[in-house]
């Protein structure tokens, strides 16, 4: 039994997949692990992420399974689940072995690993959807828009394209406070991600004068739009889970 020990990054997991194929392992007896938990009778192989190998794996996956399924694999890898590397690995093996056509990688939901990877990707894409809905920007003194979020999964990379397309002429930052990760978009320029140090945590942000006004207006709007005769807090909670409210101006 072989266990590849990866780090929690897309590069590391894809490098491990490359190595497993390069070293001609028996895929049914090979595991990818993100943790250091020892396994009995297992041979540990540490993996160091390699850009070249990652690129090759990504190329193959995209050529064989199509862009959409590749994006789904990437989404599954952004999940907080620890078993994700193994699920991705076995899904890819299953797809290459069964000669899945483009866009049909996740068809075989009866397979345990495919279903696992599918469920992870679905979970992440649901959260991405939620963040697109519920993320709020606040205007800082210098006109920049700043948003603080605390997502379960690592979703900032999936949020940036949407907002960069939507607000091309704005300077904005999306800050993931759980991972200390910044998504930065300078006006009219491409966006990028920045992993911050502990000292970089934003503090004492000064908001613009108008910011408070508009927050108050929106709070009132949300309040007024409720039809009293139909009040249904349970439905509201179902559609808008409580964990997002900490970050939303209308619930402050």
């Amino acid at each position: 039994m072989i266990v590849y020990r990866c780090e929690d990054t897309l590069e590391s997991v894809f490098t491990a997949i490359y190595q497993a194929y390069e070293e001609k392992r028996n895929h049914d007896d090979t595991f990818l692990s993100l943790t250091d938990d020892p396994l009995l009778f297992a041979e540990d192989i540490p993996v160091t992420a390699d850009e070249e190998k990652t690129r090759k794996v990504m190329g193959t996956l995209e050529r064989r399974f199509g862009r959409e399924d590749c994006e789904r694999l990437a989404m599954a890898l952004a999940s907080e689940d620890e078993g994700k590397a193994q699920a991705i690995y076995r899904t890819v093996v299953q797809g290459l072995r069964g000669k899945s056509r483009q866009g049909h990688l996740f068809d075989n939901l009866a397979d345990v690993w495919v279903h696992r990877a599918f469920a992870l990707a679905r979970g992440v894409s649901t959260e991405v959807g939620h963040q697109l809905q519920f993320l709020r920007f606040q205007e800082l003194e210098n006109g920049m828009l700043f948003s603080r979020i605390g997502p379960k999964n690592d979703v900032v990379a999936f949020l940036m394209p949407h907002f960069a397309d939507r607000l091309p002429i704005e300077n904005f930052v999306i800050y993931d406070e759980k991972r200390n990760l910044f998504g930065i978009h300078p006006a009219r320029k491409p966006w990028y991600l920045l992993r911050g140090e502990e000292a970089d945590r934003p503090q004492n942000l000064r908001y613009s004068d108008r910011e408070r006004e508009y927050q108050e207006l929106f709070r009132q709007f949300c309040h007024t739009i409720t039809v009293e005769g139909r009040e249904n807090r349970k439905l509201q909670r179902g559609m808008l889970p409580l964990r997002f409210r900490e970050y939303m101006v209308e619930f402050q």
Partner: protein
């Protein structure tokens, strides 16, 4: 006698309050149907699925900045809060105010765009012009590229409706009441004909535009997100059968994207309106939406769901379950072989899971645990399907049995509530078992009378 005279301009806050309050009963408020990338110069894009940015206390989504241009109105519709004879505070937005509000809310990701309706001020054409001017300003001066939904005002000049159509993503004309008689009795200033005319105009406009777009790729889009309408449910005595028939013909003859149903809330207290002691008819509204989905995505026809003899939906079962138990001769359906259309008719299988079943059975035959993974609601589906010729449990394919099992414990008719008060005696499950002991009983027990 003194009259209150407003001193100067009303603050924006109060205006927003009044005009939001006046617009909140309009339900046709989604941001879906248009997929438009940002152009890199202006603010905004559109996502086909639509995005809800918040949910209000009634559980409905807040997607667009839903406001009226003004709540002054020359009409006197009996169900409407903004009717001429109602004594409510009145306000009017300037176009600039609407534009600034939309832009500032949009860049903070509060909203997905603007929903602009209006009371009739002056005459319908003038009102439509005001709306058109506001949207023009928003698109061209403020460079807003997001979603805009406006009302077409019945009775407005066709040219101005045409102009507005080129600026917005969706337009809607409210049908208000499903039948012409209902409209006549509650909305004396509106006529069926004046409502259907702009609807037809927009439909033709969209078709003509579609042909233009084939020829000239960069031709401006006319109402790209299609048109919608809304009907008030429960203000007039129409049956569900009439309502879904109207909805079906709107989908077929007018190419509507959506028909919205709005449970009637009595806000004016007019004597010709029904009193609703149990609150607005929310369950009825829910059933109508379920049926609406069946019409649009599941290949059902209106006369399959209801008919003259059964003009109302079942309160206990949803329309699909109801249809299925009345057509048991078509079940059980074999999951591994049935075509998509038949899968779609099984309660508990939706459009998504039907698609997944068809894809997954290519790689091997499916079992019940697999169906669970795929997302089929087995609780409802198990009475109607087989996997490789077997049912999940030994169940009887019999109407009474299935209905009894489909309705949950709490929905079932409670013992005694239907006037039937006899039942098999049992020593152990006395219904009054958990009743607290009263003070009198305690005293009786103490003195040995009980």
């Amino acid at each position: 006698m003194e009259y209150l005279v407003s001193k100067g301009e009303m603050p924006l806050e109060d205006k927003l309050n009044i005009l939001t309050d006046a617009a909140k009963y309009d339900v046709a408020c989604t941001s879906s149907g248009v997929d438009r990338k940002g152009d890199g110069k202006s603010i905004g894009n559109c996502v086909a699925a639509g995005i809800c940015h918040s949910f209000s206390g009634d559980g409905r989504c807040i997607s667009l900045l839903k406001i009226l241009m003004t709540n002054e109105c020359i009409f006197d519709c009996k169900y409407c809060r903004n009717r001429r004879s109602n004594d409510v505070p009145r306000a009017t937005f300037t176009p600039e105010e609407i534009c600034t509000l939309t832009m500032e809310f949009y860049r903070r990701n509060y909203i997905e765009g603007l929903f602009l309706s209006s009371g009739i001020i002056g005459n319908p054409t003038f009102t439509q012009e005001l709306i058109c001017r506001t949207v023009w300003l928003l698109r061209n001066r403020y460079r807003f590229n997001g979603y805009v939904h406006v009302k077409a005002i019945p009775g407005a000049a066709p040219e101005i409706i045409q102009q507005t159509g080129f600026l917005v993503d969706r337009m809607s004309v409210n049908l208000e009441l499903p039948t012409a008689e209902g409209l006549r009795s509650l909305a004396p200033n509106k006529h069926r004909k004046s409502i259907l005319t702009p609807m037809r105009q927009i439909q033709t406009g969209i078709q003509v535009n579609r042909n233009d777009l084939v020829l000239y790729r960069n031709a401006p889009k006319f109402v790209g997100g299609g048109q919608s309408t809304q009907m008030i449910i429960g203000a007039t005595p129409e049956s569900d059968y009439q309502i879904i028939n109207v909805a079906e013909s709107l989908y077929q003859k007018f190419d509507l994207k959506r028909v919205f149903y709005s449970a009637f809330v009595n806000v004016t207290g007019d004597k010709s309106l029904p009193a609703l002691p149990g609150g607005p008819p929310l369950l009825r509204e829910h059933r109508l939406y379920q049926a609406d989905w069946l019409l649009r995505f599941y290949g059902f026809r209106a006369e399959e769901l209801l008919d003259e003899k059964r003009p109302y939906f079942n309160v206990m079962l949803d329309p699909k379950e109801d249809w299925a138990v009345r057509h048991l001769e078509r079940f059980p359906v074999e999951i591994n072989r049935a075509p998509m259309e038949e899968l779609l008719r099984v309660p508990g299988i939706g459009v998504k899971s039907a698609g997944r079943i068809v894809a997954a059975r290519r790689s091997g035959s499916l079992t019940f645990p697999d169906l669970k993974k795929i997302g089929v609601v087995l609780k409802r589906a198990l009475y109607f399907i087989t996997c490789s010729g077997r049912m999940m449990y030994p169940v009887k394919i019999e109407e009474d049995y299935i209905v009894r099992n489909l309705t949950t414990e709490k929905d079932r008719v409670r013992f005694g509530s239907d006037g039937m008060s006899y039942k098999q005696l049992s020593l152990f499950d006395d219904v009054e078992f958990t009743r607290p002991v009263t003070v009198i009983e305690r005293q009786q027990a103490a003195v040995g009378q009980l």
